[in-house]
């Protein structure tokens, strides 16, 4: 048995917060509010893995397909992937915006995927190295994950504002959906992941 509340025979209710006197086992309800009680998030690793896998799959179209198409309606259209959009912004002189989008749409999603994968893998392995760092990392990922939606936000603004038919217009491309899905999936994955699992391994080691 690892250290922690469970070792003391207590299970904290995730909804109302009160520790319950409980024996280990499944299918318990909180004595105060009646919500289901669990020591760890159920199927945390499985869910996190599945969601990460889905995010990986959709990561490819998100970056390869065009996210925005600019140009004359009915005439020559210029499709842009995220990367090409960043490059165009940079070469167009909008380098602050380019940096923002680069960070938010390319660096952060990639980093999230990488970190979460690593965390899940390390939790499965039961590794005890750098636990505090890993925990901090998890918190970072969880907090800033939603900011990747900035790119979608910019795209939506452009589509809404830049419409001068028949001369020029902006239309969303298929990558917008894929990218949105990737962000959502990574957010869900980080929610599904239970960082206490990391510490469980440490406890098991000691105990």
């Amino acid at each position: 048995m690892s250290a922690g509340a469970a070792a003391m025979g207590l299970l904290r209710c995730a909804v109302c917060g009160i520790p319950n006197r409980a024996r280990a086992g499944a299918r318990l309800r909180c004595g105060r509010c009646g919500s289901p009680l669990a020591a760890r998030k159920p199927d945390s690793l499985a869910r996190a893995t599945a969601l990460l896998a889905a995010a990986y799959v959709l990561y490819l179209p998100a970056n390869l397909l065009p996210i925005l198409e600019t140009g004359e309606i009915g005439g020559a259209r210029s499709p842009d992937t995220i990367m090409s959009g960043v490059l165009k912004l940079w070469s167009g002189g909008w380098w602050p915006l380019a940096i923002v989008i680069l960070v938010a749409s390319i660096v952060i999603p990639f980093a999230k995927l990488a970190v979460l994968t690593w965390l899940v893998a390390s939790a499965r392995r039961g590794s005890t190295a750098r636990l505090r760092a890993r925990t901090r990392l998890y918190r970072l990922v969880d907090v800033i994950g939603k900011w990747s939606m900035v790119d979608i936000y910019v795209g939506a603004l452009l589509v809404g504002l830049v419409q001068f038919p028949p001369l020029a217009g902006v239309a969303p491309g298929p990558a917008a959906i894929a990218f949105g899905a990737v962000v959502v999936l990574t957010m869900l994955a980080s929610r599904a992941f239970d960082p206490r699992l990391l510490w469980d391994a440490a406890g098991a080691r000691r105990g």
């Binding site: 003391m8 025979g9 207590l10 299970l11 009160i18 520790p19 319950n20 006197r21 409980a22 024996r23 499944a26 299918r27 318990l28 309800r29 909180c30 004595g31 105060r32 009646g34 289901p36 009680l37 159920p42 199927d43 499985a46 869910r47 599945a50 969601l51 896998a53 889905a54 995010a55 799959v57 959709l58 490819l60 179209p61 397909l65 140009g71 004359e72 005439g75 020559a76 259209r77 210029s78 499709p79 298929p174 894929a178 899905a181 999936l185 599904a192």
Partner: protein, 542 residues
């Protein structure tokens, strides 16, 4: 408050959990995989052939934007434009839709559509707004191909236009250009597709395209001529002006037709070769298979005689001038020499009747006979205003006999000086004579004569005065005397004058006497014996 005791905490109660939905989460990645796979598959399937087209310049082309269109339908996009390895050309790589697969064959042609004006028509004006695009004309081959050389100009005729091509050969371009119209009986039936200098630099070859169904009029016997501009010719025959159409005046044109009197023949094969004549007249001229070349030497100026001028015999054209030059004969004499072609077929009856007339020796003998009879060549003025000359053959029986040198080739016809030149020389002679006249002396003489005349006149004047004063009164007297005499004579000769009465009586008597004699003569004629016997009536009565 006391420290909470673990015993104060509620007891967890058993309760039914929700159904474990843990494994359902795996639906998400499966769906994601499916979506991703479908997207990938779709893009793969939708990917059509990729081609590369080489152009001289990338003007108007933009990577990622420029479209490839066929019949105004988008069938692809230019993905990238790069310089060729030798940096002389530009290679545009384009991705086409799958439906374009059948269009990309061996002889497909690509060109960039930009605004241009050719052949009197404007093309591609829409590209001013929408940007240039690459158009293609699919070929008919079955082999597909991925690398193409783009045309710098759009092809004049697209491959799906029915019709046939023919090849024309000419000496020079003659203001015909790609896109110039082709006419048949003044109807526009096609256009010039290409015009190129021959490899040896000795002429120009055109390719013309004649639309169906007019291509069936291009028969073996048809003649093509350059119908550009306005044909103005000023010759011995006068001023002539001919034009095909207003368009052909500006942009040139080619016309064809079967000349009258020429056998049309079967339809010409595709890409058959024709000669391009320089105008309708030349094209319609009958081509004679037999021609004799003769040489003429003239002593006078041949200015006004042009190559192509007519040679006629007493007004009937029998040939034409082919060359004019200078000749230097052995006696250090420089003379103009004219070469003419005579077509014996024009002297048709002669040619057909005489057997063996085709042989050159026979014709040479014939020529000698003509020359013996006085056949000479002469330059005559066809047009007094322009001074154009032509050659005429005629008999000059009074010319001294000339022996033709039958060994020389081409044979030489002796010449006689021309009519107008004779007039010219006569005038010259007169001028000379006038020059020779001692006009100064004549003037002096005239002065003397005038002076003498003056004196004479004065004398005459004096004489007349004398006459008036001295001679006149005497004359008057004479006249009066004469009048008196005349009056007397008149009296003698008047009607009732005695002289007249006497005369009349005498005449009467003479008449009676004559009558009596006549009676006697009559009687004697009837009764010649009465001379001896006397009158019978008297006997009877006695």
């Amino acid at each position: 408050m006391a420290e909470p005791d673990a015993r104060d905490l509620p007891e967890a109660s058993p309760g039914a959990h929700r159904l474990r939905w843990g494994f359902l989460v795996w639906v998400v990645p499966i769906v994601a995989l499916a979506v991703g796979a479908w997207l990938a598959l779709e893009s793969l399937v939708n990917r059509g052939p990729t081609i590369s087209v080489t152009f001289k310049t990338a003007t108007g082309l933009e990577a990622g934007k420029t479209k490839v269109k066929y019949k105004d339908v988008d069938i692809g996009t230019v993905k990238s434009i790069v310089l060729s390895e030798d940096r002389r050309n530009v290679i545009a790589v384009a991705e086409l839709t799958p439906q374009a697969r059948g269009l990309i064959v061996e002889d497909t042609r690509f060109w960039v559509v930009r605004p241009r004006i050719t052949g009197g028509q404007a093309f591609g004006l829409g590209t001013i707004l929408s940007g240039a695009y690459i158009a293609l004309d699919p070929g008919k081959s079955k082999e597909s191909r991925r690398a193409f050389e783009g045309l710098e100009n759009p092809p004049v005729v697209l491959s799906d236009v029915p019709g046939r091509q023919f090849v024309l050969r000419a000496d020079d371009l003659g203001s015909i250009d790609i896109g110039s119209p082709v006419y048949y009986r003044h109807v526009r039936v096609g256009q010039v597709v290409s015009a190129e200098l021959n490899a040896d630099g000795k002429g120009v070859t055109f390719v013309v395209f004649v639309n169906a169904p007019y291509d069936r009029y291009v028969v073996r016997g048809a003649r093509f001529w350059n119908a550009s501009g306005i044909d103005v010719s000023l010759g011995a025959g006068g001023l002539r002006m001919e034009t095909e159409s207003l368009a052909s005046i500006v942009i040139g044109g080619v016309a064809f037709q079967v000349p009258p009197g020429v056998e049309p023949g079967p339809p010409a094969a595709t890409e058959a070769v024709f000669d391009l004549y320089k105008d309708r007249e030349t094209a319609f001229k009958q081509v004679y298979t037999v021609k004799d070349t003769y040489v003429l030497h003239f002593r006078q100026s041949v200015r006004g005689l042009n190559v192509g001028a007519a040679v006629d015999f007493r007004g009937v054209p029998v040939g034409e001038v082919t060359r004019i030059g200078l000749d230097f004969n052995g006696e250090h004499e420089l003379r103009p020499v004219v070469e003419i072609d005579v077509y014996p077929e024009r002297i048709a009856a002669q040619f057909r009747r005489r057997p063996g007339a085709e042989r050159p020796e026979v014709r040479a003998q014939t020529l000698q006979r003509f020359v013996d009879r006085g056949l000479r060549a002469q330059l005559k003025t066809g047009n007094l205003i322009t001074g154009q000359l032509y050659v005429t053959l005629d008999y000059f029986p009074n010319d001294p006999k000339v022996r033709i040198d039958l060994a020389k080739a081409p044979l030489e016809i002796p010449t006689a000086s021309g009519g107008f030149t004779e007039l010219q020389s006569s005038v010259e002679n007169i001028v000379h004579k006038i020059e020779k006249m001692p006009l100064d002396e004549i003037a002096v003489d005239l002065k003397n004569i005038v002076a003498t005349l003056d004196v004479t006149l004065r004398n005459v004047n004096a004489l007349v005065e004398r006459m008036d004063s001295e001679i006149a009164p005497e004359l008057r007297q004479t006249l009066e005397t004469a009048r008196g005499a005349l009056g007397q004579a008149q009296g003698a000769l008047s009607e009732d004058a005695p002289l007249q009465g006497d005369l009349r009586g005498t005449l009467r008597d003479v008449g009676r006497a004559a009558e009596a004699i006549r009676n006697l003569a009559d009687y004697l004629e009837r009764h010649p014996e009465s001379l001896i016997r006397g009158r019978r009536e008297e006997e009877g009565r006695r």
